[in-house]
């Protein structure tokens, strides 16, 4: 009945993949969206340049949590260079749902956390446009 709350999204929200923590993670980063309180933490274990394991933890709306769940599914076996290439469009294609200007922030939070953790980028490149 609802484009936004597709079965796939709700499934990831209620049964998130890669949920948890990695105590001896090589990369850990956490951030939140101050407007709605969505919070995501991502832990990554590397083998060389390759993601060997990834876990996320967080609280928030269905969109942000499903986005984190689906994004982490994509990461295992990827190199840090692959991660660098992931962009906004990658997330939008992955979710496959129409998102307005408010909810797009929810959807992109996990990628923002991932990039900040991997590269220490603390501001989203598009923030200035808003």
């Amino acid at each position: 009945m609802d484009d936004l709350y597709r079965e796939l999204i709700l499934d990831h929200y209620q049964h998130p993949h890669n949920h948890g923590e990695i105590p001896d993670a090589d990369i850990s980063y956490e951030d939140s969206n101050p407007l709605c309180g969505d919070r995501i933490r991502i832990d990554i274990k590397l083998k060389g340049n390759i993601v060997e394991d990834v876990k996320f933890n967080g609280k928030g709306c269905a969109i942000s949590q499903a986005s984190a769940s689906m994004l982490t599914d994509e990461l295992i076996g990827k190199s840090l260079d692959d991660i660098k290439k992931m962009d906004k469009q990658f997330i939008l294609d992955m979710l496959g749902i129409p998102l307005g200007p408010t909810r797009i922030k929810c959807a992109l939070l996990p990628l923002k956390v991932l990039k900040a953790g991997v590269y220490g980028i603390h501001t989203w490149p598009d923030d200035e446009e808003e």
Binding site: E7, Q14, C36, D38, C61, I63, C106
Partner: protein, 412 residues
């Protein structure tokens, strides 16, 4: 079902914005605690000002400027009567309620709060009143203390006695919470504060629009509210006792707030203009005057009765829902027309999104009360709030839509 006191279908006709549909559904506006809708009379008052009497106020000697000044000052007197202030000099136009509170924290607070003094607030406070006093307390090395709440979001009466002490110089308290809806025992707080010689600042942003407020009977020292939450445009109001306002230094400096300006010093205008630097929001002030006329014609007792009936009805319906937690008092007599709730397993942003599909406007978030949400262990809630144009049928749609949300988010 007819509601007490108000002819809601006639009222609804006065609000152009309510005549539209959203996503093919009639617009149901349940976010008046954030900002209210505006009746034709308010829109027309501002439109007429811009079309017929637009000029800057004060000092102009031509007819237009005189008319603009007259209308701006007439609106002030309407506001004065509406809250029963002793003098029009006690009514100061501000940008919003937040600015009104900042004015007091800056002008009164800086001169009167010293190291070691105690400032008492409550756990219910909106960031608009918490943050200005928090900042002042840090600057002055003063202590912040808080009156706590019970399991129904009501102020702990024993805290009113124990927190407000001889060391207390200021008590800043909401009259009606924008989250729990709690109507605070404002008189008891004011009496207690005055008994120890403390000054009282009341946040009435959720009170003045919804119930009769009489500042002389309350005996509060300062009271802030905003026009846009009471059917008016975006302008705020500060009420202050004249004796206090007279002793205070100006907040913003500039034109209009001066009596004489020399190159090296200036003297200040008389009240209330001492606190109205620069060209104010003239059309908005005039619009607020029209909103006050509108509310006065409805009668604030009727407005309160209507909202109380809607709230009682909503609370009763909410009790039939499983997995929904409503914050605040269970008795509608103890609360304003604000219902913040949590649906188990569903984030408020998702709730608000699904509501939007049904034409319902509700707010999701911490409603500028993060410490209060922290107290409840919630990051955010969904809030529905009522006003003169809302109906029992809209409450039914609200409850039905919660069921719809629960069915979309049913455990799978």
């Amino acid at each position: 079902m007819p509601l007490m006191g108000l002819n809601v279908s006639a009222i609804r006709e006065d609000f152009p914005i309510l005549q539209q549909t959203v996503n093919g559904k009639p617009l149901i506006y349940l976010d008046s605690a954030a900002t209210s809708q505006k009746p034709e009379a308010v829109i027309r008052a501002m439109d007429t000002y811009y079309r017929q009497t637009n000029a800057n106020i004060h000092r102009g000697v031509y007819a237009l400027a005189e008319q603009a000044t007259e209308q701006y000052e007439a609106a002030r007197r309407k506001i004065q009567k509406f809250i029963n202030a002793k003098s029009y000099r006690e009514i100061i136009y501000t940008r919003n309620a937040t600015e009104a509170i900042n004015l007091v924290a800056y002008s009164w607070g800086r001169a009167n709060i010293r190291e070691g003094d105690s400032l008492v607030l409550t756990l219910l406070e909106h960031h608009a009143i918490l943050v200005p006093w928090q900042r002042l307390a840090q600057e002055k090395n003063a202590r912040l203390e808080f009156i706590g709440i019970d399991h129904q979001g009501r102020l702990r009466l024993e805290d009113i006695e124990t927190r407000i002490t001889e060391k207390t110089k200021l008590v800043a308290v909401t009259m009606a919470s924008n989250v729990t809806g709690t109507l605070t025992p404002i008189r008891e707080v004011i009496v207690r504060a005055h008994s120890v010689g403390a000054c009282v600042m009341v946040d009435a942003a959720q009170a003045v629009p919804h119930l009769p407020v009489d500042v002389q009977s309350l005996d509060c020292d300062f009271l802030a509210f905003s026009g846009h939450k009471m059917l008016g445009p975006f302008v705020g109001v500060l009420y202050g006792k004249r004796a206090l306002l007279e002793t205070m230094e100006p907040f913003l400096a500039g034109g209009d707030m001066i009596r004489q300006v020399y190159l090296d010093h200036s003297t200040w205008n008389e009240l209330p203009w001492k606190f109205e630097a620069g060209t104010p929001a003239i059309a908005e002030a005039i619009g607020l005057g029209a909103a006050v006329d509108y509310l006065t014609a409805l009668g604030m007792d009727n407005v309160r009765a209507h909202e109380q009936e809607l709230t009682a009805y909503a609370l009763e319906k909410f009790r039939t829902l499983d997995g929904v937690r409503v914050l605040g008092p269970s008795d509608a007599a103890e609360r304003g027309g604000v219902i913040a709730f949590d649906i188990s397993g569903v984030h408020p942003h998702d709730v608000a999104q699904i509501f939007d599909r049904e034409g319902l406007c509700v707010r999701a978030g911490h409603h500028c009360a993060m410490p209060l949400h922290e107290h409840y262990g919630l990051a955010a809630t969904t809030r529905a709030s009522f006003y003169v144009y809302n109906t029992l049928e809209e409450v039914d749609v609200l409850v039905e839509t919660i069921r719809k949300v629960q069915s979309i988010f049913k455990p799978r």
